[in-house]
Amino acid sequence: MEYEAVIGLEVHVQLNTKTKIFCDCSTKFGNPPNTNVCPVCMGMPGVLPVLNREVLHKAIIAGLALNCEISAYSKFDRKQYFYPDLPKNYQVSQFDLPIALNGYLNINIEGRQKKIGITRLHMEEDAGKLIHEEGAGSKSSFVDFNRTGVPLAEIVSEPDLSTPQEAYIYLNILKNRLRYVKVSDCNMEEGSLRCDANVSIRPKGVKELGTKAEVKNMNSFKAVEKAIEYEIRRQIKAVKDKEKIVQETRLWDADKEITISMRSKEEAHDYRYFPEPDLVPMEADKKWIEELRKDLPEMPDIKAKRYMDEYKLPQADADLLTSEQDIALFYEECIKHYDNYKTIANWIMGELNQYLNKKKLLITELSKLTSENFVKLVKLVDSGVITGKSGKEIAADVIEKGVDPEKITEEKGLKQVSDESEIESIVDEVIKENPEAVENYKKGKTTVVGFLVGQVMKKSQGKANPQVVNKLFKDKL
């Protein structure tokens, strides 16, 4: 029998604000334990939480970026459970009236588009951090409440995903969109994005859903993909072996690349939600929401599609250029000056990206880089005034110091030499100095011409037009 998987994702992103969701403690990462805390976030009796407006603001923007409807009326609720990282014994979250509902993202998979529904986006507070004492026989855990009350948006997808690859693409689009609208850093390593996957299988063609397992503890999108892949395999095998699939939470073990059942004491997941009496309801300001909607930038996946349609870029290029908004904006500046779309894309993905990666910089940190100079550089190479090699050599100066590539070409005398008579003497010299290579060439080992051309390039300090050099060798030998 053939099986298909049904996958839904729950993503938590940290909304980037200066202060916590219900108190003005700092959200700064890395402060000493239990110092970003106050009576409100530690759940002392008698305190009054007040919503941080910036949390609401960013939750609405996130909702709009995911094509959600923003609720006209929304409220907070208490979700009750006991765990040492939760000082109040309840988490303030949203139950039946979340801030945003009914969104979607379109993903492209193997050339066709698939719509993935987003059930809801709601605001909630994060819990604290538990550190477990190492070693057998240890009896204690330690609690740091700095994260308690850090604002989160939980984004729940419909079970519309059918493969690990679809989940991976969905997550990337979601992350890129939230980064474009600047509501979250979406950095999984630093914990500003977390993802849990609900996975079940069913025989192909069957409508009812199978029993699902919730898989947690993945620390990258690749890990999410792998964990889902494993989980599907595990469940199919279990069914074939006539084992019963139980509804449970499973943890991804990144080293062993398997999921492991979390043997929790059988506890009823009965959260007894009720309205949070200390926080008053939110009524949407329609004008504000429309303003926010108007201010949304062109979304990365939409932009990528446009790059493919308008600039005829391959999907991989379009995805790469649009994954960082500032890179995309720089690309769009560049192509205003020069319409060789693909060549400019290559230079940005090549020289510019390499430079940024090497120096660990963001493009916005390059204060002297201008699109004018960058395009001049591309044009100089493209039109054959300088060789690609020279272009790469001066790229760093153009990127970092903002030098005019035309000027530096003049100053360094980098103009490519295409005049045969000028190159001929160097070619003759190289032939004279390398009798062995010449002999080999004449014997039919024509690949050695690459070595000879290299010698000429060296002697001409990279200025000789390689095509002309090639031609001269072929004529002479």
Partner: protein, 96 residues
């Protein structure tokens, strides 16, 4: 009786409250009386009343995203903890 002993047992487990049989018996009876009394509200016709989640006629109370009140020091934060170690609250180990 609308509420059973099992209901009360379940709720007491969720709330981490231990009860002996005598208490369970007593509370089941008391809770039942209270719920029966509150049932009186069901007689009202609320077809035209909007559901409410808050008794105050207030909405959209928010603050600016600004650091105004200083946080507690680590020492102050830990002062009320029943058990602490170093900069942390100390609790019985929660995982195996």
């Amino acid at each position: 009786m609308a509420i059973t002993k099992d209901d009360v047992k379940y709720v007491s487990t969720l709330a981490r409250i231990q009860m002996n049989d005598k208490e369970l018996e007593a509370f089941t009876g008391q809770l039942d009386t209270i719920l029966e009394y509150m049932k009186k509200l069901n007689e009202l016709n609320t077809d035209k009343v909007k559901p409410s989640s808050n008794i105050l006629d207030v909405k959209n109370v928010q603050r600016q995203d600004e650091l105004n009140t200083p946080s507690l020091t680590n020492k102050e934060a830990l002062a009320e903890g029943p058990d602490t170690e170093g900069e942390f609250f100390k609790v019985p180990k929660v995982i195996d």
